[in-house]
Symmetry: C2
Subunit: 238 residues, 2 copies
């Protein structure tokens, strides 16, 4: 998207001020870069890790996008979260030592990889790292909370509208103010994330478009009228 150089090391990384290096003194940075594997390339649909396998690594999204998906024994699937650059994948699996989701690339992407173990040691040396971690986790919980709220709302159109608003906000999280963005996931992905049928997603899209809130072309969405979109998102449950 943005024309960043994507093969830089941590010190030059465009994400540095939002990522772990932001809380480490420049002189100490090598100790961190030492435990990171940067710039791992993945192709669309590549799997980062599988549900149920031993978890020992965190991934930081540098470019592209990912989804974390879990399936029950009965075969029903759910997508917990979509990950954009700057997001950390694998947080929820640290406690149990097993990935509770599978993580899959939604497009050609790049990630950096940090193992839990050396990170724990580094946290002992740099307490700011622990503070950062806790902040990240806390944000993650807050975000999961919002997602929960959204899914529990009844009206399908409201769910999709809220999803779009939140996604739009996240796509601009680095200070840009674009009113258009790309949804790298399929309609089916959106549908199982929101607990709706694909067809309902399609229909909700047309409803939101006909209300004049957005326009779209394929996976590209442009916000035309944010206030009305917010109104749709907050429409009373049915």
């Amino acid at each position: 998207m943005a024309p960043h150089n994507l093969t830089t090391q941590c010190s030059q990384c465009f994400l540095a001020k939002k990522c772990i290096p932001s809380v480490i003194e420049f002189s100490d940075l090598p100790q961190f870069t030492n435990i990171v594997t940067t710039n791992i390339s993945l192709k669309n649909n590549d799997v980062l890790f599988k549900q149920g396998t031993p978890a020992s690594v965190l991934y930081i999204v540098k470019s592209g996008a990912f989804k974390t998906q879990s399936s029950t024994t009965s075969g029903s699937e759910h997508i917990a979260h979509f990950f954009l650059p700057g997001d950390i994948i694998g947080l929820e699996s640290a406690a149990r030592g097993k990935y509770q989701n599978s993580a899959t690339a939604l497009e050609d992407s790049m990630v950096c990889k940090v193992a839990y173990r050396p990170l724990v040691k580094l946290r002992q040396k740099f307490p700011a790292l622990s503070d950062f971690a806790i902040k990240v986790y806390s944000s993650g919980l807050a975000s999961a909370n919002e997602t929960q709220n959204n899914i529990a709302i009844q009206a399908a159109t409201s769910r999709l509208a809220t999803f779009l608003i939140r996604y739009h906000r996240r796509s601009n999280q680095f200070g840009s103010h674009r009113n258009d963005f790309t949804l790298p996931m399929s309609r089916h992905d959106i549908s199982i994330h929101l607990g709706l049928a694909v067809e309902t997603i399609s229909r909700s899209f047309t409803a939101i478009i006909q209300a004049g809130c957005i326009t779209k072309e394929g996976k590209n969405v442009t916000i035309q009228d944010m206030p009305s979109l917010i109104k749709l998102a907050n429409a009373p449950p049915r």
Copy 2:
């Protein structure tokens, strides 16, 4: 429930081996107890904190139960989580500095209170405390994830069955093996937690009872046939 002495200090607390003291040397414990206010009593319906107010404190449930609830501008309400003894309330609010939910007692309860600020200092002194915190957060995320999965499932009866299974597991988290438990929250609370109507909760209860999975008397539920209950929970979406 269990006949624990509920006015003990941390060193004697029946939760000590699951709570923060579990990761601090006995000789260092006073430094922690110093920053904790233990054994705060609350009556049923008492509010611990309100959505939107500045967040600077964590609460640990010692006895009783709580819910965290958020309401949107449009008035629709959702309950994010129910809290049982040993659970920590307020985690998701640390990053933003504001409580994103209101926390309310579901019965007469007791909590211990720890302020973020001194906890940060103590974490610098005792890195194990940071490890513990991250484990707690990670579990919290994992649990939020499961809740999300559950709410995204279509069938109402499956949602309630899953809710009951998870609640039952949590009520036995300290090693007991009872097959009965008490739901301290109202049907209405369950309904907005699961994104369903109260009436649907009622009907789902009767469905689960008629399937022979559970019996109940008011708020007391007894599991009669766990395998069938699990089967109900995993029933294909519609």
